[in-house]
Symmetry: C2
Subunit: 215 residues, 2 copies
Amino acid sequence: MVTSKNCIIRLSRYKNALYRLLSLGFLKVFSETLADEVGVTASQVRKDFSLFGISGNKKGGYQIEALLNKLSSILGKDKLQKVIVVGSGHIGTALMKYKGFEKEGIKITAGFDIDPAKCNKSGTVPVLPIGELKDFVKNDAIKIGIIATPDIAAQQVADLMFEAGIKGILNFAPIRIKSPQDSIVNYVNLELELENVIYFVNALNKPLSLSKDSA
Amino acid sequence: MVTSKNCIIRLSRYKNALYRLLSLGFLKVFSETLADEVGVTASQVRKDFSLFGISGNKKGGYQIEALLNKLSSILGKDKLQKVIVVGSGHIGTALMKYKGFEKEGIKITAGFDIDPAKCNKSGTVPVLPIGELKDFVKNDAIKIGIIATPDIAAQQVADLMFEAGIKGILNFAPIRIKSPQDSIVNYVNLELELENVIYFVNALNKPLSLSKDSA
DNA sequence: CTTGTTTTGTTACTTATTTCACAAAATTAA
DNA sequence: TTAATTTTGTGAAATAAGTAACAAAACAAG
């Protein structure tokens, strides 16, 4: 099994780029072209594909459609993924309304909040009391959850999610989550991302040295 | 100059953990403790500090307050950072309203949108027509911008930002931005982060192998 | 003052990731 | 059919990142 997060992230990027190329009318693509599109080297593309047993045609490149099927299958995108969000503050609400997930086969089926005033069962994405989370997750066999609560609540919410059977969490709260062995937690920390930009802006514009890395 | 994004991200994490420890009443900390708090090894902490010439006291650990000052200065957090947001859809609006930035010394001073109906000069964060971006950025000497537009608009918005003098961008649009040498673009792609969680949930729960990595 | 203990700071080692380089396959042209 | 050309696929080489180990400093206790 490939366990490098960066590698998997690149697969997703390849997939996105391939959709774009497909919509522009291309049917096949060379590693070189795809690499340019995503901002990596051609070697990297071929190596990544090699790791997953994806092969193309010597001299002919890769058939985009077949490639997309393969990537989607590897990434678990061949079936609709149901996801819940806990916390209906600014970020949580934006996520529930966000259109970008749908076209990626991700559906936010419900939100949850501890504050009854923020609950609303009749919206496009219903917001339910946190007490209903466990049953909801079990009934719908949901495996993925998003935490968009204040940091004080995050661990508690995570524990509740794991108890209910959730195996993967995307956590927006700026705190490290303790999680069971058979689960995965990814972090999105907006302050941190901005801080990082700030650091590199200062670093690039102050001294006389150069850099090219970014990730 | 340190150019490893991961390393800088860790510095931010150390900083956050240190604030937490300080608020709990601690005045000094050992590399071991800080490492546990952030989820890395003690060696890593000391190595990171070593790279930036940060030193502590043999047997005595590190003075939290002095350490925080040093980290804040490295990360450019010793002065208020003004940031603008372009795109006032769900994500852009959530960012403008997001409370988390303030306590990190980051202030969103304005939003911009191409749609006049979405503009509103009198909000807490005024939303201005995109045409006013250039003057606004120049007058306020703003160096950092956030792109929260649809992907089709992203490159155009980025070009406008660079023209106006912005040097660092945090980009939420799922597209690679072409940028000048002396600038930096960081990416936040929510679909991609979720896809990643989905991959690892599948990978961890299907086969008989184990993994521990997460990043 | 000496001995023992703790923790840093850094060098050496290990592991992981990326790039290089080239044989093998596929295609085209003659 | 043969030669020339292009592009993949993959081991080997190079780089980067992370861990381990330990000497040196700091302190405490006797």
